[in-house]
């Protein structure tokens, strides 16, 4: 990709991607195009708006149909170009610029990968069957279609799988692709495919999942390579031209919402019982109450609550005292020191590879899978209706609000349910919606203790 000065307006057009895949590029190689410097930045910003929009949509728990609409809208609004022939170039160029921006740390890569994959997935769904097949050709998939003989031998099993998902059995002319099961982890996890001797039989309407996984693994590898190239040569070479733009792009649009609270409202041990009642979201309140009751929590619960408390401002010393006070009642002081204190220090980045772990977001908590004996997870999702009602009324939610909350739960809008709970308990609306337990806490504290001066709080900036 050649970057040119604004005056020269030539645009060479010889991208491999453009010729073979008219509508959905795979971004396999930086195309030999010329880009104007101002387009370099503005294209990237437009694409970033799309990615941010997707990120917001996902964290609000939008359903697939809603996401489809959203992506279509976002793409139409942001990625158009006055010259129709330039639309594809803008797509490709913006992707490659953002690659430079988001290749530089693991967190940035993770976010970029997730959003680009989501984008790819939804765009793939909009393609015509021919266009989809063209993409699949690029991934060497079309050759793996199941022939008639094999189809006959497994027809019954394929039918069982379809019916287990409430779909009709496949007809004689249905196309299936035989791929190693490693390539479709989502479908395997959901038991949505027939698997035999290491191969998964993927239906045409499931091909999205397959293509998305292949795209993802390709992009993931490339990002690491891009990072190496950036650090070893590009950053220095471009230090007067592209590098300042790239670095500005990532810090002015903190694209990913790392959900690390920027301000640490320091709370101390003696405050905990009080703030637990007034400002903890239901998930943490439940863990807290169970801990007090059983003097124990399993690993998942310790992580979820422990990191939350760290985010709320409990320092390491107080955290140790807190957990020690509860656990020692059940397992004794010595065992606590031996078995549990290490993990707490680990969470604060004081042991092992010294990562400073981030408190879990709602998305992460909702998608967890609490099993026998576990108390973590999102009560709006993981509790039965009766248990949830009981828990909410213990928190003080009135019966009118209760019905609204349960309605949201039935429609699987767990974060909205939590938001309504917040609003009911605090008597105020929460426009942004809850997407992180620590956000619930700090919003609650802001309402309940408005006099607290922000300068009196310890300010800790979010890690990039």
């Amino acid at each position: 990709m050649e970057i040119v000065r604004p005056q020269s307006h030539r645009n060479l057009f010889s991208s491999n991607d453009a010729v073979s895949v008219p509508s959905l590029p795979l971004y396999r190689s930086a195309p030999p195009l010329e880009v104007r410097l101002e387009d370099f930045e503005s294209f990237a910003i437009d694409r970033l708006r799309v990615l941010k929009g997707i990120s917001d949509g996902l964290s609000r728990g939008k359903k697939p149909e809603e996401m489809e609409k959203l992506v279509k809208e976002l793409w139409k609004v942001n990625m158009r170009h006055q010259h129709a022939s330039e639309v594809l170039n803008k797509d490709i160029i913006s992707h490659f610029v953002l690659r430079l921006v988001y290749c530089r740390t693991e967190d940035l890569r993770k976010w970029f990968l997730s959003m680009e994959c989501a984008l790819f997935r939804y765009r793939f769904r909009f393609l015509t069957p021919e266009a989809q097949r063209a993409v699949m050709d690029n991934f060497d998939l079309t050759c793996r279609a199941v022939n008639n003989v094999e189809f006959e031998s497994i027809k019954e099993k394929l039918g069982q799988v379809a019916r287990s998902m409430g779909q009709p059995s496949p007809t004689v002319d249905a196309i299936f692709y035989k791929v190693p099961f490693e390539e479709v982890p989502e479908l395997v996890a959901g038991r949505k495919v027939f698997i035999s001797q290491g191969y998964a039989y993927v239906a045409m309407n499931q091909v999205v999942s397959l293509v998305a996984t292949l795209f993802r693994s390709q992009l993931s590898k490339t990002l690491i390579l891009t990072n190496r190239k950036w650090t070893s040569s590009i950053r220095e070479q471009e230090k007067h031209r592209l590098t300042p733009i790239v670095e500005a792009l990532s810090s002015s649009y903190l694209g990913p919402d790392f959900s690390q609270p920027r301000e640490y409202a320091e709370i101390s041990l003696k405050d905990i019982d009080q703030v637990a009642k007034s400002s903890f979201p239901l998930c943490m309140r439940h863990l807290f109450d169970k801990l007090k009751e059983d003097h124990h929590l399993k690993h998942g619960g310790r992580m979820q609550l422990g990191l939350f408390l760290k985010g709320v401002g409990l320092n390491l010393e107080d955290a140790l005292a807190f957990w020690r006070a509860e656990f020692s009642k059940k397992v004794g002081l010595e065992k606590f020191e031996k078995d549990y204190s290490y993990n707490i220090r680990h969470n604060y980045g004081k042991e092992g590879k010294r990562t400073d772990y981030t408190p879990y977001s709602c998305q992460k908590i909702i998608s967890s899978t609490p099993g026998a004996g576990d108390q973590h997870g999102c009560p709006y999702r993981h509790f039965s209706e009766e248990n949830l009602r009981a828990a909410l009324s213990r928190m003080g939610v009135n019966s009118r609000a209760m019905e609204d909350v349960m309605d949201k739960v039935r429609n699987r809008h767990y974060q909205l349910a939590c938001t309504l709970t917040f609003e009911a308990l605090h008597g105020m609306t929460c426009d942004a919606g809850i997407n992180h337990p620590n956000q619930y806490f700090s919003d609650s504290q802001k309402i309940l203790q408005p006099k607290k001066d922000s300068s009196a709080q310890n300010l800790v900036t979010a890690r990039e």
Partner: protein, 433 residues
């Protein structure tokens, strides 16, 4: 419930155990996966990049132990006498040198290979067994483990195509599974999680409601096969009776609560509350009641949505394997090595033959005391096969070798040779025109 015996364990007896019985050479052969230096295609660094960890007396925990050869491994274990030996993954570099490679954000010290592992623990079944609780196991509830082995082993082979699978008794209340094919060792965390999820049926805990939910007009072939070949018979022919699942009000209420149609539940309740001993003493009351229950649920009279799979849901709830998901999902999860001695029971973690798992009896697994006594009685014979041959451990080690280690080594060598030849071919091609 069989009362737990006085623990057949004493830390002092580990020394002779490691001295004379623990099969170091076999563990080493396993862990090298053919990279023993005898073929030019061997990776000499492979064994040295494997993590071991030791739990010592006094609960000292040594992680990231690594060894360059069998002798180092053996000497270290004999010297330290660990209460427990865990096996971790193979890393990019020797774990002992990891600090040199952890540079800030780009962590070059990372796992590259690790067996696909499963851990099945009887305590996760506490809500479906009445004979024991917690750490206890007996012959009445052990069939739950047998079921787990049959279901998972069959699926690993038939569905996923894995061949080199080792099942091990955990020493007290469960079983471990090691899938050692190259393909399995190279699975990513995401792929491991997907397999664990494929096997997951039981969802939830005391806070949630319906824990087994089988929707849809048909069962997925894996579930259907498991049900027909294993679960149904074990439930109806063994567990119903041995666990007295329908014999008392408390117990049958538990099953009735799983029926979404209140009219059917009441009808059954009515029948059972009256007929306590009225049915002939010949047929077991649990069997009789289950027949009645099935008849009503499958009669087709009531076409309610939730009823379609109710019978299967009940059977799955009481029998289907419950895996510890976390163990399987992460490459860096440690797991206890086979042939360790369990400190609470003194029993050796012996392999279990999946083809004969019906006959496995956890109460007759050799213990530390027992083995050392056997050794003493036999006298110190220099046996070419190692001293274990004269002891009860003999069968366990023979099983380990013949059904697992030997086929695995053969396959590994073939793989090493194949990829070596391929590399040679490729370099030839690149040199030529």
């Amino acid at each position: 419930m069989i009362p737990q015996q006085e623990s057949d364990f004493d830390h002092n007896y580990l020394k002779p155990y490691y001295g004379k019985l623990f099969p170091f050479a076999d563990i080493f052969k396993w862990m090298t996966y053919g990279h023993d230096g005898k073929h030019p295609g061997c990776d000499q660094s492979y064994f040295g990049r494997r993590e071991f960890s030791f739990t010592l007396k006094g609960d000292f925990y040594l992680r990231f132990q690594s060894f360059n050869n069998a002798l180092e491994l053996e000497n270290s274990i004999k010297e330290k006498c660990p209460l427990k030996i865990d096996i971790g993954p193979v890393y990019t570099v020797d774990p002992a040198k990891r600090h040199a490679y952890a540079q800030g954000d780009n962590n070059v010290f990372a796992p590259v290979e690790r067996e696909l592992i499963f851990d099945i623990d009887m305590t996760d079944y506490d809500d479906v067994r009445y004979c024991c609780r917690g750490a206890d196991v007996c012959l009445n509830c052990w069939p739950l483990m047998t079921i787990a082995i049959k279901v998972i082993d069959t699926s690993l082979r038939d569905d996923f195509g894995f061949k080199h699978i080792l099942w091990v008794y955990s020493g007290r209340r469960g079983v471990h599974c090691w899938v050692c094919d190259g393909k399995a060792r190279r699975l990513t965390n995401e792929q491991r999680a997907s397999i664990a999820d494929y096997y997951r049926v039981y969802k939830g805990n005391e806070n949630s409601h319906k824990k087994v939910s089988l929707m849809g007009a048909a069962l997925h072939p894996f579930l259907a096969t498991s049900y027909t070949n294993v679960l149904k018979d074990y439930f109806e022919k063994i567990l119903l009776t041995s666990q007295n699942l329908l014999a008392t009000e408390e117990r049958y209420e538990k099953i009735l609560s799983m029926i979404p149609d209140e009219s059917i539940a009441s009808e059954l309740r009515g029948k059972w509350q009256d007929s306590r001993r009225s049915s002939s003493a010949k047929e077991d009351i649990n069997v009789v009641r289950w027949e009645q229950c099935k008849q009503l649920l499958q009669s087709g009279k009531h076409k309610a949505q939730g009823l379609r799979r109710c019978v299967e849901e009940i059977v799955f709830f009481f029998t289907y394997p419950r895996l510890d998901m976390e163990v399987s999902k992460h490459m860096n999860h440690l797991l206890k090595a086979p042939f360790c001695v369990h400190p609470k029971t003194g029993r050796v973690c012996v392999p279990i033959d999946p083809n004969q798992c019906d006959e496995f009896d956890p109460t007759t697994v050799p213990t530390l005391f027992q083995l050392l006594e056997e050794l003493n009685n036999e006298g110190l014979r220099a046996d070419v096969n190692g001293e274990w041959n004269g002891t009860s451990l003999g069968n366990a080690i023979t099983l380990f070798r013949s059904s697992f280690l030997e086929p695995l080594q053969k396959a590994c060598k073939e793989e090493i040779e194949r990829s070596y030849n391929l590399k040679l071919q490729q370099s030839k091609n690149s040199v030529g025109w």
